[in-house]
Amino acid sequence: MADPMRIRVAEKDGLVTVRILMSHEMETGQRKDSSGNLVPAHFIRSVVATYQGRTVLSAQWGTAVAKNPFLEFSFKGGKKGEKVVVSWEDNKGDKRTDEATIN
Amino acid sequence: MKTAVRSVFLLAAAVIAGCASISDEEAARRALQVMKASFDERGQARLDRLDQDEAQKLCSVPPATVLPKETVERIEKANLASIRYPADGKLLGDWKSGEKIAQNGQGMQYSDDPKRPAGANCYACHQLSKDEISFGTIGPSLLGYGKLRGASEAVQRYTYGKIYNSQAFTACSNMPRFGHKGILTEQQMKDLTALLLDPASPVNQ
């Protein structure tokens, strides 16, 4: 499985803020290596975050997203102590799922 | 612009003077020893790059150091003597090539291909043409260089000479000695002279 994400989730005044740091090369497929060969594209294609089974974020990414991407978003209605689950899948079929408890 | 008193060094100097330490001469000797043992040759960078000539030895001092007048004159005289002007007497090349050479920061690093020509990397330290905003400030601005000075033979000789060996005119200059150290070819230095002096050059618009 790919490298773990770093996820921090905090709730304040009813708003839950999720901060995720993902470990991924996010290769665009346009770069050339030192021998002059194209480095194949390898990037996260979809991101899904759920809370109590409900999707709170769904994203489709492309090659414009930077290496080791940082994602921050918010949603309402989450409670401290509950979990947020984040999953990504890339164009090669690699996946990663991690979870964090709301602070 | 000289910097203010460097409290950093004073503090360390106090500690070193107050406790048992090695002398400054011993530190210099040990430093050379340590350096020789701390580098590996790699690519085109051989260990002889650590061998210092007289100017390098004398100039290995803090920037604010005022060297004795005789030392300054000795360095400038020796470096002036090293300048080789083009045999054909023509000092002005092609400013368009000069601009490319001024923009190019490659050459002589252990990561560089020794077969490719080196650049002068002028923009690392100097402003040159008005349109290039990505310029450094380690050296003075050269915008309008030729406009201010004209392109008389004397100015051409000074300009080419400065590029060939900056320390001929300013002992311990931060500027590399492009001709004397074999960084640039004669044609490249002619092209840079033109970049600075040719009225059509972007430097003089």
């Binding site: - | 950093v8 070193i16 430093a31 580098f39 290995s60 450094g136 380690i138 150290k181 074999g182």
Partner: protein
């Protein structure tokens, strides 16, 4: 008449000062870059290296199948908090001054049973070819975040290292006659558009030293101070500064001591 000439002199002086200093990057642009850097701090990919480093510290590895948790970074075996703020320092068990990476290599050899050459095989990572040193350095330095730099010169070998480092800093050499001081010896200078810290000035040394290691966005890698020194020398047209060489430790000693008093602020994020 007197007032007019004074005004003219002042004006001429001001104009000359502007000419002498050269065109400066507008302060507004410098401030905007600083604001941008602040925003990047949240979500610094260096944290990915920190997580890996913490695992590596605790993992049993090497022929000895031992973790690094017994490694003494200067504040006692296994004490990581605040250790980086006091490095480099003299270690009696090795009878020499060591910086962080040198001490880590020492523990990899003496505790975990690695051979030195094997331990330092990959000092700097590149994509999927990762360096354990960069991960370990990321985590260990993060455990000194906020701690004031407190490097000591109490041992004669520490003082010698400082003096040697100082000589190296001003050493003009190579094809281009560059010393560290050529770029880092004056305040307010930049190379192209990259501002240069004046490392001979306390404030400059503090700001610069306390932000390494850093995630280098342009490389997509976390880089340590050993890397920074090696890459500076490469650009100075010097040969290859050996990883954990005595010269690299001496230079680090010189710069770390000069940064004393400032709160350590790494791992940071840089362009």
């Amino acid at each position: 008449m007197k007032r007019r000439s004074t005004r003219r002199a002042l004006f001429a002086g001001a104009a000359l000062a502007l000419c002498a200093a050269g065109p400066a990057f507008p302060q507004s642009a410098v401030d905007e870059i600083a604001k941008y850097r602040q925003q990047l701090q949240d979500g610094n990919p260096a944290e990915l290296w920190e997580a890996r480093g913490e695992d590596l510290w605790k993992q049993r590895r090497g022929p000895g199948n031992v973790s690094l948790e017994g490694c003494d970074l200067g504040k006692g075996a296994g004490v990581v908090k605040g250790a980086y703020a006091e490095l480099p320092r003299y270690f009696a068990d090795a009878d020499r001054v060591m910086d962080l990476e040198t001490r880590l290599a020492h523990c990899m050899v003496t505790l975990q049973g690695f051979k030195f050459e094997a331990a330092v095989k990959r000092p700097f990572g590149n994509g999927s070819n990762r360096s354990d040193f960069e991960a370990l350095a990321a985590w260990i330095t993060s455990e000194s975040k906020g701690v004031p730099m407190n490097v000591s010169l109490s041992n004669p070998k520490e003082r010698e290292a400082y003096q040697i480092g100082e000589k190296m800093f001003f050493f003009r050499g190579g094809t281009h006659d560059f010393a560290c001081a050529t770029c880092h010896g004056e305040t307010g200078k930049r190379i192209r558009l990259q501002d240069l810290p004046n490392l001979t000035d306390r404030a400059g040394a503090q700001a610069a030293y306390t932000t390494w290691p850093a995630y280098r966005v342009s490389q997509g890698e976390l880089r340590t101070f050993q890397w920074r020194l090696n890459d500076c020398f490469r650009q100075q047209r010097f040969p290859d500064l050996k990883f954990t060489s005595e010269g690299s430790i001496a230079l680090t000693m010189f710069l770390a001591y000069n940064a004393n008093g400032a709160a350590y602020n790494g791992p940071a994020i840089k362009r």
